[in-house]
C-alpha cells in the first residue's frame, strides 16, 4: 500500500508552511521595534488643544448658550464612554455606571477680564433618571436650591441641574461670575427642548421630616452590597436625629423579597445580628450592625428600609411610616 501523499498535497503543505514562516519572521522582526506611541495616548502637542476628543463630532457646539459678554475660549470637546476619563479622570466610573452616553463641554471667557471664565459641561445621560442619579450623588452640602428646573442648585461659583436627559454643570473660575453662570444655565434651559425629569420613586418617601434636597439615586454597589442597585436614599430628621431611609423598585414582588433576604444575609455575614424587634410589618427585620440599626423589608415590588440609624426606636418608627407610604 502506498501511503505517500499526492504531489498536490505536498505543494499545498509547502505553501502553508512558507506562509507561516513569513508570518513568524515578521513577528520576530517587529518585536524589536517597539513603538511607545502605539500605547501612548493622543498626547496633544503644545498649541493643539483638541476640539473633539471622541464621540460624535455632529451636534451642538454649545456656542448658542454664551450670554452677553462671553465668548468661546476653546472649541467644543466631545467625550464618549471610552474617553470620558480623559476629561474627568477617576470620576468617570460613576457616570459610566449610571448610563453615560456623551459629554460636550466648552469654555467661555469674559473678553474684558481674562482671568474670568466658565466651563459648560453637558452630559447626555440617556434619560432623566440617569441624569438625576449623577446630579444627586454629587450634591454639595451647602447648596442653594433653585427653582429654574425641578432639580437644580448653585454654589458660589457653579450651577448644577437636570434638564431632560442632560446633567449640566456650569463652573466659573471666580465667584464674581455667579450671575454669568446663572444666565448661561437659564439660556440652556430655554434653548434646549427637554422632557420633564420625572423620577417617580421620590414621591413615595413620606414628607414629614424629609430633607428633599437629600434624595439621591445610587445606581450600583449600594451600601457596599454588590447585588443591590438602583436605590433611592433620603435623609430624615426624626426627633432631632438624622436617619436615612431607602427604597428600591425591583422587577417583581418575588424579586423584592429575594433581594431583601439577600441584603439581610449580606449584613449578617458582615457582623450584623438580627434583633427580635417587631415592627408590625410582615417580613421586616431589624438588625444591629455594630453600633447602628438597619431595618429591611419588602412591600410589593419595593425593597425598603432604614440604613445605619443610631437609634433603633427612631429607625423602627421611620420604617413603619415608609412602609405605609409605599403604594
Amino acid at each position: 500500500m502506498d501511503s505517500r501523499p499526492a504531489r498536490t498535497e505536498t505543494y499545498v503543505g509547502l505553501v502553508i508552511l512558507f506562509t507561516l514562516a513569513v508570518i513568524a519572521a515578521g513577528i520576530f522582526l517587529k518585536q524589536f521595534h517597539y513603538d511607545a506611541a502605539l500605547f501612548a495616548p493622543a498626547v496633544p502637542e503644545t498649541g493643539s488643544a483638541p476640539a473633539s476628543s471622541a464621540g460624535s463630532s455632529d451636534g451642538p457646539d454649545l456656542s448658542d448658550y454664551a450670554t452677553a459678554g462671553l465668548s468661546p475660549m476653546s472649541g467644543v470637546e466631545v467625550f464618549g464612554p471610552e474617553t470620558l476619563s480623559e476629561k474627568i479622570d477617576g470620576k468617570a466610573e460613576m457616570y459610566l455606571s449610571a448610563g453615560f452616553k456623551e459629554l460636550r463641554c466648552r469654555r467661555f471667557g469674559r473678553s474684558d477680564r481674562p482671568n474670568e471664565w466658565l466651563e459648560l459641561f453637558v452630559y447626555d445621560m440617556d434619560n432623566p433618571r440617569n441624569a438625576f442619579a449623577v446630579f444627586s450623588l454629587q450634591k454639595r452640602a451647602d447648596a442653594e436650591e433653585l427653582s429654574i428646573v425641578r432639580f437644580s442648585y448653585r454654589t458660589s461659583n457653579a450651577l448644577y441641574l437636570v434638564h431632560g436627559r442632560h446633567y449640566v454643570e456650569i463652573v466659573a473660575s471666580v465667584e464674581s461670575m455667579a450671575e454669568d453662570v446663572l444666565a448661561v444655565g437659564l439660556k440652556f434651559i430655554q434653548t434646549m427642548p427637554a422632557e420633564g425629569a420625572n423620577v417617580g420613586e421620590i414621591g413615595l418617601f413620606p414628607p414629614e421630616g424629609l430633607d428633599p434636597s437629600s434624595v439621591a439615586l445610587h445606581v450600583s454597589d449600594v451600601f457596599g452590597f454588590s447585588e443591590l442597585d438602583n436605590t433611592f436614599t433620603a435623609s430624615y430628621n426624626v426627633d432631632g436625629v438624622t436617619v436615612t431611609a431607602f427604597l428600591s423598585r425591583r422587577k417583581s414582588p418575588e424579586d423584592a423579597a429575594r433581594m431583601a433576604e439577600a441584603y439581610r444575609r449580606f449584613l449578617v455575614e458582615n457582623g450584623a445580628t438580627v434583633t427580635d424587634a417587631n415592627l408590625g410589618i410582615e417580613g421586616a427585620r431589624v438588625l444591629k450592625v455594630f453600633d447602628t440599626f438597619e431595618v429591611v423589608f419588602s412591600k410589593g415590588s419595593f425593597l425598603a428600609g432604614v440604613h445605619e440609624a443610631d437609634d433603633g426606636d427612631v429607625a423602627g418608627r421611620l420604617a413603619v411610616r415608609l412602609h405605609q407610604g409605599i403604594r
Binding site: A40, S48, E86, K91, R140, A158
Partner: protein
C-alpha cells in the same frame, strides 16, 4: 466512484508514525516559542536597565526619615518654614543640581478650585531651588486634559516661567516603556521619562484631594501623571497601582499642600463648596508617611486608604508618620 491510490486507507502503523511526527512538530514549535519568549521587555533592555535608564533613586542619603508639618494659611510662608524645619532646602538641593518638579496639572481648572498644584506655592519652591544653587529647574506633568490648557489655566505654566523654571510639555517621543522590577501592573508601560534625563533631584508637589476611586489623591498618586497610554485601566486596581508608583519613584522631596483640601467630589471638584480650609502644609522625604498624615486632613485614616498600607508593606515608607518625629511648625 474511482478512488485515487493516494487516498487508500491508512494502516495502523502509518497512522501512529504520522501522529508521532505531528506531535513532534507541535512540541518543537512550543519549545521554540518558549526559548524565543522575550521576558526582558522592549528594545532588548533588561528590566533593571529600563528602570535605571529612566527613574533613578533621587533621594538624598541620610534624609529618608524627615518630615515637617506646618500649620498656616499662607503657602509661601508655610513651605519656607517647612523646609527650614528639615534643615533647609540646601540639605536637599546642591549647587549645580538639575531639578525636576512633578506638579499636579491634571485639569484645566482655575487655581481657586484646588484641583491642581497651587501656582504661588510652585513659584516659591522654584525660587528656593534656584537660590540653593540649582543650575536648572524644570516643571512637568502629563495632564488628563490637553497640556497647554492645563498649564495655562491652572497658572502653573506662568508661575514656573516667571520664577525661572522651564515647562516641559509631554510629547509622544518623551515616553518610553518602563517596568517596575517585581511589579504586577507597571510592566513595559509608556512613562514620561525624557524630562528625567540629566536630572539629579526630583520634587513631587500635590494638593490634598478626595478621589472617587482611590479615596484620596496626594503625593503618591501624583506620580500617576507620569504615565501615558490607556492609563485609566489602572483605576480597576487603583490601590495596587499607587503602591507600585511609590515603589517606582523615589523622590528627593514631596510637598503636600493641605492649606485648602478638596473634601468631596474629587478629583475634579468644580465647586468651591467642595473645599475646606485645612491650613496645613507637609514637607517630607517619606511619601507614605506624608500621605498617611494627609489622610487625616480628609477626615480619614490609613485604613480607609488601602494603598497606604500596601505601600508600607512593600517597603516604600512608613504609615506611622509619628515615628519620624515630624517637626511641627506654626506659620502664624
Amino acid at each position: 466512484m474511482k478512488r485515487d491510490s493516494d487516498e487508500k486507507e491508512l494502516n495502523r502503523r502509518d497512522f501512529l508514525v504520522r501522529s508521532a511526527r505531528a506531535g513532534g512538530f507541535i512540541a518543537a514549535a512550543g519549545l521554540l516559542g518558549y526559548r524565543l519568549h522575550d521576558d526582558t521587555g522592549a528594545r532588548g533592555l533588561s528590566s533593571d536597565e529600563e528602570r535605571q535608564a529612566v527613574l533613578a533613586d533621587y533621594s538624598v542619603p541620610g534624609t529618608s526619615r524627615k518630615m515637617s508639618i506646618v500649620t498656616g494659611q499662607d503657602r509661601v510662608t508655610s513651605v519656607r518654614l517647612g523646609l527650614e524645619a528639615m534643615g533647609g532646602i540646601e540639605s536637599f538641593i546642591k549647587r549645580g543640581d538639575k531639578v525636576l518638579i512633578k506638579v499636579n496639572a491634571a485639569f484645566a481648572t482655575a487655581p481657586a478650585l484646588s484641583a491642581t498644584t497651587d501656582p504661588r506655592l510652585l513659584s516659591e519652591v522654584v525660587r528656593l531651588c534656584l537660590k540653593a544653587g540649582a543650575s536648572e529647574v524644570a516643571v512637568t506633568d502629563n495632564p488628563i486634559n490637553d497640556p497647554q490648557s492645563c498649564f495655562a489655566l491652572t497658572g502653573i505654566g506662568e508661575a514656573a516661567r516667571s520664577s525661572g523654571a522651564k515647562v516641559i510639555y509631554p510629547k509622544q517621543t518623551f515616553f518610553r516603556p518602563v517596568t517596575l522590577p517585581g511589579g504586577n501592573l507597571i510592566r513595559k508601560w509608556p512613562v514620561l521619562v525624557t524630562p528625567f534625563e540629566g536630572v539629579g533631584k526630583v520634587i513631587g508637589m500635590a494638593p490634598v484631594k478626595d478621589h472617587h476611586r482611590s479615596g484620596a489623591s496626594m503625593t503618591m498618586k501624583n506620580w500617576y501623571g507620569l504615565f501615558g497610554g490607556r492609563r485609566n485601566i489602572f483605576h480597576q486596581n487603583i490601590h495596587e497601582f499607587i503602591m507600585e508608583l511609590a515603589m517606582l519613584v523615589k523622590p528627593t522631596l514631596v510637598i503636600l499642600d493641605g492649606i485648602t483640601a478638596m473634601m468631596t467630589n474629587g478629583p475634579t471638584g468644580g465647586s468651591l463648596a467642595d473645599l475646606k480650609q485645612t491650613n496645613t502644609l507637609v514637607v517630607g522625604t517619606d511619601q507614605v508617611a506624608v500621605d498617611a498624615f494627609g489622610a487625616t486632613l480628609l477626615g480619614k485614616s490609613v485604613h480607609d486608604l488601602p494603598y497606604i498600607m500596601k505601600a508600607e508593606a512593600a517597603g516604600a515608607g512608613t504609615a506611622d508618620f509619628e515615628s519620624l518625629g515630624p517637626a511641627r511648625v506654626t506659620a502664624g
